[in-house]
């Protein structure tokens, strides 16, 4: 039995998040057996017919088990009848065990989450502005609560006042604190997380019992699990196959009587044959596959609202990816200083550096670094110029600079600097425009550097800011293309810039100067053509598009509106994860298809074992079908039943882990899986049944 123990879950503490992710599912044998044993009580509890009837195939096995038990009780002296009965019960139990093991993986995570939820006391603000202490469970939507350093946030909500660093490790598993502040896209807080510093006021947006953590608990426990559309379709197909086999076996009794083989076809034997033939392998593992698929997502720190979304991910044919943070590194970097005619590179570099010292944005810092590094301009510090006036970069002016020693230096977005120059009596040289156009055409962002000395403002040169495409993205997009998925880059940049980056990154298409409405329109257009669209988003203005997309992944750092609109939440807020989500969706479907094919292909060998066993006495010629040369009719039938039960256990690890998925076209995947699970399913039982028969034939009374 030890060879068939399923791969258990990590032995590390069951904390959701990277900690759990870090321990791959390859522990030793001992813990696997332990996990099976731990799941045993659950498996027995699942024998409840009201639960089993939801899986038609296994319900038939349950009825068969009860039936053979009754038959065995009526004839207690028949060891064969008892042996069949025991193995039929084991078949049922193994199926439940598979599901229980799959569910068990989520249970531990749920317990940790539950600890984070219980026993919070909220400091509610009354309308008159005083505080009152109420249990977290008494909070209503719209209540305002105060949280200070050390407090656990009592419920999901939006920060309406203040800034605080928050420890969200209870939800994300990430120990580094995050900043949450009122207004903007970083205002959402999750109940159960802890404020580390400062004071915030939070408006509660979720009722107790419906908070994010509550939903997570239900999700990982599988309490909300509903059959997905494809799972329903497969269940229907399996049920109809079960009916066909029921027909074949029930009519076999009169056929056998006509053939004079009544003696061999006892009701025990026919029940055994039925259980062997109906697709028990996939029937037993179907729900475990679904649960494990969700679990694989949770392990990658993605929470899916429903299994339906995971399934849809496998079907996605268009992937909308935000440029910034997904395709390119979050920030642009300065790549070159280009002087206008009559100005030297060193002058531009020096002015660019000075004007960027007060610019704390990553772009500003990259300009200083470039000037110091590549252009060898001496390092400068703001305190070197005590009388200078520093102008920090702001989103409104889109410029930064310094006024010192009679010079006023400015650097910033082309439009803003040009306006500043003209305002200060300067003219713009033609080659400045030429340079900016050239940079824009190459996909870069031009920043202008200008100076006002001697009463006149003039442009010194241009800074070339460049997006840096993340390493390995080109290869990833190539993989997606082979899988038949089109990638579309979404960016606020102008079309020229967008095209250059799209080409560099290797995406199939781009949407430039994209507004949220454009995004929504693009999704609708793709969907009208029958395509399924996946996207990520975090801002409130992404919410409509997230809701419209077939797979909408909201970043955990995003607003609660975005999280509400999407059907998945990525706790790591890593937009590239969309690609992994698609792969998990595909893997889920492939595992189902592979095990169904395997299950059906198995039946051929079972017929070759059982039919000669039943009828070789009536028609000796049929013994020629006994190609496995099984020892006796009893051992043949019992071997088929035992194989049928053990194969469920043997395939539990595969069901939990999922069939290996490779980024390849449909033809290659089909050829590989058909060979592995179709032909494998045809051959494996011939070997397995023969081996079991060899062992059984050693037993007295059977062989």
């Amino acid at each position: 039995m030890s060879t068939t123990t399923p791969t258990p879950t990590p032995v590390s503490p069951p904390v959701p998040g990277p900690a759990a992710d870090a321990a791959p599912a390859t522990p030793g044998r001992g813990s696997g057996t332990r996990r099976l044993l731990a799941a045993l009580p659950d498996a027995v509890r699942k024998l409840d017919p009201r639960v089993m009837v939801r899986t038609p195939v296994m319900f038939v096995v349950l009825v068969g088990s009860v039936f053979t038990t009754v038959l065995a009780l009526r004839e207690p002296g028949d060891p064969f009848g008892w042996a069949i009965t025991v193995w039929l019960w084991l078949t049922t139990l193994f199926a439940n065990l598979a599901e229980a093991v799959a569910e068990g993986r989520g249970k531990a995570q749920a317990d940790t989450l539950r600890r984070a939820r219980t026993g919070t006391v909220a400091r509610r603000l009354t309308p008159v502005g005083t505080e009152e202490k109420v249990p977290g469970t008494d909070l209503r939507v719209g209540d305002r609560v105060v949280c200070e350093a050390g407090d656990v946030i009592p419920g999901d909500g939006d920060v309406v006042e203040g800034v605080a660093s928050v420890d969200e490790s209870a939800v994300t598993g990430e120990s580094a604190p995050v900043i949450r502040e009122s207004g903007g896209d970083r205002s959402a807080v999750t109940g159960g997380t802890r404020v580390l510093s400062d004071r915030i006021v939070v408006t509660i947006t979720a009722r107790p019992g419906e908070t994010f953590i509550d939903r997570m608990i239900r999700l990982v426990e599988g309490a909300d699990r509903q059959k997905t559309p494809n799972e329903i379709a497969l269940t229907i197909l399996l049920a109809s196959l079960t009916l066909v086999f029921l027909l074949a076996v029930v009519t076999l009794k009169p056929f056998a009587m006509y053939a004079g083989a009544d003696g061999r076809t006892s009701l025990v034997v026919l029940t055994a044959l039925l259980v062997c033939l109906i697709p028990t392998t996939i029937g037993a593992l179907l729900s475990a596959i679904g649960i494990a698929g969700m679990d694989r997502l949770v392990r990658r720190n993605v929470l899916a609202r429903s299994g339906r979304a995971v399934e849809a991910a496998g079907d996605v044919s268009t992937l909308l990816l935000d440029k910034t943070g997904t395709i390119t590194l979050g920030n642009r970097r300065a790549a070159a200083f280009l002087p206008v005619r009559g100005v030297t590179e060193a002058e531009v570099a020096e002015a660019a550096q000075l004007s960027s010292l007060a610019d704390e944005t990553p772009e500003g810092r990259s300009i200083v670094a470039l000037a110091h590094g590549t252009y060898r301009v001496g390092e400068r510090h703001p305190d070197e110029l005590p009388h200078a006036t520093w102008i920090a970069f702001s989103a409104r002016t889109r410029m930064s600079g310094v006024d010192a020693g009679g010079r006023r230096i400015r650097k910033g977005a082309a439009g803003s600097v040009l306006a500043w120059v003209e305002e200060h009596g300067g003219t713009v040289p033609g080659d400045a425009r030429e340079l900016t156009d050239r940079i824009a055409a190459a996909g870069g962002t031009p920043l202008l550097v200008a100076v006002e000395d001697a009463g006149r403002a003039r442009v010194l040169g241009v800074i070339h800011l460049k997006d840096v495409v993340k390493e390995g993205m080109r290869a990833r997009f190539g993989e997606l293309r082979r899988m038949g998925i089109r990638t579309v880059m979404i960016t606020g940049d102008n079309p020229l810039t967008a095209r250059a980056i799209a080409e560099e990154a290797g995406v199939d298409d781009y949407l430039a100067e994209a507004t949220p409405e454009d995004k929504l329109a693009l999704i609708r257009r793709e969907q009208a053509g029958g395509k399924l669209v996946a996207m990520t988003g975090d801002g409130t203005n992404d919410a409509p598009a997230l809701a419209q997309a077939d797979v909408g992944v909201a970043m955990n750092t995003g607003t609660s509106a975005a999280k509400e609109a999407g059907n998945m939440v990525d706790l790591d807020s890593d937009p590239t994860k969309l690609i992994e989500i698609v792969e998990i969706g595909k893997q889920l479907l492939i595992t189902r298809g592979a095990l169904t094919t395997f299950s059906l292909a198995n039946d051929v060998a079972k017929y070759f074992a059982v039919i000669p066993a039943l009828f070789a006495a009536a028609y000796p010629s049929l013994d020629r079908l006994n190609v496995m040369r099984l020892a006796s009719p009893e051992s043949a039938i019992l071997s088929a039943v035992i194989f049928n039960a053990l194969i469920i256990l043997a395939l539990v690890p595969l069901a939990l882990r999922g069939v290996r998925h490779r980024a390849a076209g449909a033809d290659a995947l089909l050829r590989r899986n058909l060979g592995l699970y179709g032909l494998g399913g045809l051959v494996a039982p011939f070997i397995g049944i023969k081996l079991i028969d060899l062992l059984l034939s050693l037993l007295p009374g059977i062989g």
Partner: protein, 554 residues
Amino acid sequence: MSPVLAGILQLLALVVALGLAYRPLGDHMARVYTSSRHLRAERWIYRAIGADPDSEMRWPAYLRGVLAFSAAGVLFLYLLQRLQGSLPGSLGFVSIDPDQAFNTAASFVSNTNWQSYAGEQAMGHLVQTGGLAVQNFVSAAVGMAVAVAFVRGFARSRTGELGNFWTDLVRGVTRVLLPLSVAGALVLVACGTIQNFSGVHEVGRFLGGTQQWNGGAVASQEVIKNLGTNGGGYFNANSAHPFENPNPVSNLFQIFLILLVPVALTRTFGRMVGSVRQGYAILATTGVIWLVLTALMLTTEFAGRGPAFELAGGAMEGKETRFGIAGSSLFAVATTLTSTGAVNSFHSSFTGFGGGIAMLGMQLGEIAPGGVGSGLYGMLIMAVVAVFLAGLMVGRTPEYLGRKIGSREITHAACYLLVTPALVLGLTAASVSLDGPAGATTNTGAHGFSEILYAYTSAAHNNGSAFAGLHADTPWFNTTLGIAMLLGRFLPMVFVLALAGSLARQVPVPATAGTLRTEKPLFSGLLAGTVAIVAGLTYFPALALGPLAEGLAA
């Protein structure tokens, strides 16, 4: 020339002839069912039956048309037989008994043409030509209409409309079956098949009694019998009768006629869904199954062992010397793989395996190439099931021709697949359990079981061929076989049309590199495998107790 070589040459000739006819006929049918023009004669018909040929029907309306038309056909044929004695053109034959009249009416309307009567001893000119031959045309046209409606389910999108049943029915007759029949009848007459309205002739003495032959419009009925995959012969001996099928050339021509329309319909399918390669893929699956079964049949029949076989030069019992083993084997496979059921030899007298191959041909669902129309929709249903399994294995929710196969679609396909096994196995089980029906066999043991299994297999799959040996003209068999024929024909049509309705409503999913390519050889092979495994798993125990037990004993 050795008989084996002759057989191979016949097979080659057949493949070449079908290959030549494939494109023109397939394209012609695609035009027939998509054109918006009506012939003048067709307008008269529409006016006469009060149909608006340009209105579109959703699947329930289409189905109502099919069922109403067929019910009227059953009633008309039943009354015609029951009243034969009082009507002109009876050749002096009396009216048919109720159970046999029901059986025959069900049989011809369901395109089965199971015959529990001997034509030349029971049916006069009026019933034969005015009743049975007419149904030979229209029952075939109904099958084609349903197939075309199903194909429209794949070809159309965002609509529930599947075309107009009356238009499809009428055009199938006027533009496909009638012109081909006229040409085919001329060829048959040239081969020596008779065509007249002469009465009963006494032709000398035989075994101490007089022998009677009657003439009739045989060639005209013969051509549609094969072309429409009907199979009901003018004479009891069917295509073994020299008046129906005089020589090896007419024999080969009849096999060609049997396969012609079902094979060409795969082209029509490809044309209508806008990808002839999809049609080729279905054709390839069909061709592989047909060739494999033909090769197996030729092998087992030529490999007959034992002194009796040696003396006769092979398994010649029950076969006509003018066709030989090859001509009989080719015919037997063609007639059972389509829903024709015409025979030029006695399938009961084939080797054990040979009889099993004939039975398996029907149990595969009569889809390679199958009956006119019914073969195409049967194979497409199998394709839906194959796509479901294979589609999952490429990591997408399954889709065929851009249509998603969800729970609604798979439910219809699964119900379709359940109908015939339930009828065949259920009624066979009932028959072998009852003393009367079980005693109606000529043989006992495995061969006796095959006689009954074959009868219900043939009826439920609308084949109509008989194994011989079973005394089927009893109230039990006439009634249960009649029910099997009607349910085996029309229940699947319900599911086919319902499936077409839900397919036509969908927005097609565009194909990408991640889409399962259903026009590739890999899929054709997978489809053939699915067909084999579904039929094999359903019927293996039954086949083991009949033809396998017999064949393995030889």
